[in-house]
């Protein structure tokens, strides 16, 4: 347990640093940035307490906000997906989740893609709505959400593939 705790602490800081130092300077086509730090929330162990996850997500989002001077937009979006995660897990993985045995290294690719896609889309939609904070610019919000989501999903999946341990 202690070991698990330290692994996730390292993940936390590594993802924050990688996000603010590398992925925020991508600026593909001028404004498209991936936000793969939500991997932390996506891959957090299923069995753990939900309140813990929500609280850690808040801290994660807030530390990103601190670096990017964005107020509380990342904190808000992260807390939302942490809250909604059980529902998305149930939708994406169905019966495996009911038995509380989801191992992210061992699930099939299709449902993993589905899981990431829903999680990322919700996160980015909330993120950019809060960032623009102006309903008359809804086109801009949707545009940013769409392009950044595609980018985030690609990067997230690559990271999970590269860093996954061969458990099978």
């Amino acid at each position: 347990m202690n070991n698990l705790f330290s692994i996730y602490t390292v993940h936390f800081f590594a993802l924050v640093l990688v996000q603010v130092l590398i992925f925020n300077h991508v600026n593909f086509l001028g404004y498209i940035n991936p936000y793969p730090y939500i991997l932390f929330i996506a891959l957090f162990p299923v069995k753990n307490n939900r309140l813990v996850l929500i609280f850690i997500s808040f801290l994660l989002g807030l530390s990103i906000d601190l670096f990017l001077d964005t107020g509380g937009i990342h904190a808000g979006a992260s807390v939302c997906i942490a809250y909604a995660r059980p529902v998305i897990l149930k939708f994406a993985f169905g019966t495996i989740y009911e038995h509380q045995t989801v191992k992210f290294n061992a699930v099939d690719f299709g449902s993993k893609l589905m899981y990431f896609t829903i999680l990322t889309a919700i996160h980015h939609l909330i993120l950019f709505s809060l960032e623009v904070f102006n309903m008359s610019k809804i086109i801009l919000i949707l545009q940013k959400t769409l392009f950044s989501s595609i980018f985030t999903i690609l990067i997230s999946l690559s990271i999970t593939i590269v860093f996954s341990r061969k458990t099978r």
């Binding site: 640093l17 808040f58 107020g71």
Partner: protein, 256 residues
């Protein structure tokens, strides 16, 4: 319950960050984030040394030509310009965090209270305006970029004194919008826009950009002008901070 509590907290932070000078805790001018950005910048600055050197050399050339072509003053009254007549102080600094892809962009620089940088000082580069100092910590400060939807800077046409307000519509980091230029002003594509010196932040005659296109607003009384910035906001390193020495006096007078 915890979810709603934390979500509300983040909403409060978000709303605060959308109003000028309000975000108290969440800004990157603190010890931790400033330190991280500073050490990262120490590495990454080597990658654009060449282009930055070119910019500085270009500015040196311009200043030298100004210096050697300066008219020799025929005024018989001698003014010691170091003690009088000096209304602006310049500091130099480096950008350690640039941002231009959000709708409210905020930059971080490596000078702070210890270098007597305070809120509402202007920030320019060798080519033109960049923004206004927002938050300061001991060693770092954040800059409200012109590429921020809440930023409002007074600017005018170079060839006449018609002035208006610079704002940004969050579409492209190359263009800002100048509004409230009255219809009687003669506006042409390619004209230069400069700061107006009407606020106590920027002195007059600092370059902003050139007019790309213009049209009348809905009421047909004022022009809405797209201005192409002189600065490449995506490639910033060396900047100057301007302090208006007389600012206190001006604001006191205006408040009376």
């Amino acid at each position: 319950m915890l979810f709603f509590l934390l979500f509300c907290i983040s909403l409060v932070f978000t709303i605060q960050s959308h109003s000028y000078h309000k975000s108290k805790f969440i800004n990157s001018a603190n010890f931790l984030t400033g330190g991280v950005y500073n050490s990262a910048n120490n590495i990454s600055r080597y990658f654009n040394l060449k282009s930055q050197n070119q910019l500085l050399a270009e500015e040196n050339r311009r200043l030298r030509s100004l210096l050697s072509n300066a008219r020799i003053s025929t005024d018989s009254v001698y003014i010691d310009s170091t003690s009088f007549n000096k209304s602006y102080t310049f500091y130099n600094a480096n950008i350690i965090k640039n941002s231009y892809s959000l709708s409210d962009n905020i930059l971080t620089i490596n000078k702070g209270k210890n270098d007597s940088i305070k809120q509402d000082f202007g920030v320019i580069s060798s080519k033109g305006i960049i923004g206004i100092i927002d938050k300061t910590s001991n060693n770092f400060a954040t800059v409200l970029s012109v590429l921020n939807t809440t930023s409002r800077i007074s600017a005018q046409l170079k060839k006449s004194n018609h002035f208006g307000t610079l704002s940004w519509n969050a579409k492209s980091p190359d263009f800002v919008q100048l509004t409230d230029i009255p219809k009687v002003a003669k506006v042409k594509v390619g004209d230069t826009i400069i700061t107006s010196g009407r606020s106590s932040i920027f002195p007059k005659n600092i370059g902003v950009g050139i007019i790309k296109s213009f049209q009348l607003d809905a009421a047909e009384n004022y022009y809405e002008i797209d201005v192409k910035l002189f600065n490449d906001m995506t490639n910033l390193e060396h900047v100057y901070i301007i302090e208006n020495v007389n600012k206190q006096e001006i604001t006191n007078l205006e408040d009376e």
